[in-house]
């Protein structure tokens, strides 16, 4: 039985984030361009290109998502957010034409999770963004399924190259199912192997001894 020594918390994939999910933490570091809506007194030093003491209304700043969410919520609108290109109408047209051609790793890599986070900022395009996310996911599903179910014992880096983080984990689940079955069919499954934790532990011990 494949025992998991550590089961990481999965990404929430929604408007909420999972506090303990590494994927969500990394996603919340994604930079967004935001426009300052109230003066930031005495914070001018944050902006290297100007000598002003304050940051004026209308200044554009790059900020991580977690900070933007703190400065733009139900109570305050200290900043407003510019929609990243990939969620704007131009790209949405590309996605509706053929979602499979887009390199979501390069343009994402948290395309779905970040896209859902963008719904926090009350854009008039929210509905279209959400619809595009669904269509893109559905449109790319077949290719992910086929590639993850056909690639056995080969280098898969080319197959996952253009997938976003969520799609990669899905690809991994497909591969795990396929590999499990192939191992079973070949009779490898009947061999009991040491857990990787135990193996690493031994290695560490030996390494310590050699010193």
């Amino acid at each position: 039985m494949a025992s998991q020594e550590y089961s990481p918390v999965a990404a929430a994939v929604g408007m909420d984030e999972n506090f303990l999910s590494l994927d969500d933490i990394l996603m919340s570091q994604e930079k967004l361009t935001s426009r300052v809506e109230t003066v930031f007194p005495r914070l001018g030093f944050l902006e290297k290109s100007s000598d002003e003491t304050d940051i004026a209304v209308g200044t554009k700043l790059e900020m991580p998502l977690w900070l933007v969410k703190g400065l733009h919520d139900g109570k305050r609108r200290i900043v407003s957010v510019e929609l990243p290109k990939i969620y704007r109408e131009g790209w949405r047209t590309v996605f509706s034409a053929d979602p499979n051609v887009v390199d979501l790793q390069k343009l994402g890599p948290y395309y779905y999770s970040l896209g859902l986070q963008m719904l926090h900022f009350d854009s008039p395009e929210n509905l279209e963004i959400a619809q595009t996310l669904v269509q893109t996911y559905v449109g790319r599903f077949r290719r992910i399924m086929d590639s993850s179910q056909n690639a056995y014992n080969e280098d898969v880096s080319a197959l996952v190259e253009k997938l976003d983080v969520l799609e990669r984990s899905l690809f991994g689940a497909g591969q795990a199912g396929l590999n499990g079955f192939q191992c079973w069919e070949k009779g490898h499954a009947s061999r009991i192997t040491a857990s990787s934790l135990v193996k690493n532990y031994r290695k560490r011990k030996f390494a310590d001894l050699e010193v």
Binding site: M1, A2, A12, V13, G14, M15, D16, E17, N18, F19, W66, G70, G74, Y112, L116, L119, H120, N126, L127, A130, Q131, L133, V134, Y137, V138, F141, R142, M145, D146, S148, Q149, L166, S169, L170, A173, G174, A176, G177, L178, G180, F181, C183, W184, E185, G187, A189, S190
Partner: protein, 186 residues
């Protein structure tokens, strides 16, 4: 579930053996077996049949369907139909692998049987992927999966349910929602 656990379940299937030893009835927790008499067929679970075979204490009688002609019909049927055809055993794949690996000398035309079963499996898995794809693209909520075996479901199961669960989460945001519930207040 790990395929070896599906195999574990398959090992409960009853098969006929012809023992070469005598033993009175055995009262197992899961039911009684035997009596065993040399040369007289008796039904036992597969896990026991294989163990006895390994110790050269019996000959295994292959299940009725494990026969080249019958399997050819099944394979053709499977290729012809779009839907999943009823299969002679819910554990056909596991039984084939276990019996051919451990008792191939008791099964006539073992290699042909292996190929026929694998062909049937491949056809069925291809159909399974097709239906998975249409399930996702139609954004369905319920599917009937009669005639699918546990091993078939298990091979694609986690991938498929993960895909649907993701899709459900992404789609959950199509309707504007009331109050925002942050997973953690900062």
């Amino acid at each position: 579930m790990d395929p070896s656990e599906v195999e574990f379940l398959a090992e409960k299937e009853m098969v006929t053996i012809i023992p070469n030893f005598s033993l009175d009835k055995v009262y197992l927790i899961g039911g009684e077996l035997g009596p065993f008499n040399p040369g007289l067929p008796v039904d036992v679970p597969l896990w026991l049949a294989i163990n006895l075979k390994q110790r050269q204490k019996c000959r295994i009688v292959p299940p009725e369907w494990m026969d080249v002609e019958k399997l050819e019909v099944i394979r053709e049927q499977e290729r012809k139909e779009d839907t999943f055809t009823p299969i002679p055993s819910p554990y056909y794949m596991e039984l084939t692998k276990l019996l051919l690996n451990h008792a191939s000398d008791n099964i006539p035309k073992a290699d042909e049987i292996r190929t026929l079963v694998k062909d049937t499996w491949d056809t069925r898995i291809a159909k399974l992927r097709l239906s998975a794809d249409s399930f996702v693209s139609q954004q369905e909520v319920h599917a009937k999966l009669d005639n699918l075996t546990l091993m078939e479901i298990n091979t694609i199961g986690t991938f498929f349910t993960d895909s649907l669960n993701n899709l459900f989460k992404i789609r959950a945001n199509l309707q504007p929602r009331g109050e925002s519930t942050m997973s953690q207040e900062y």
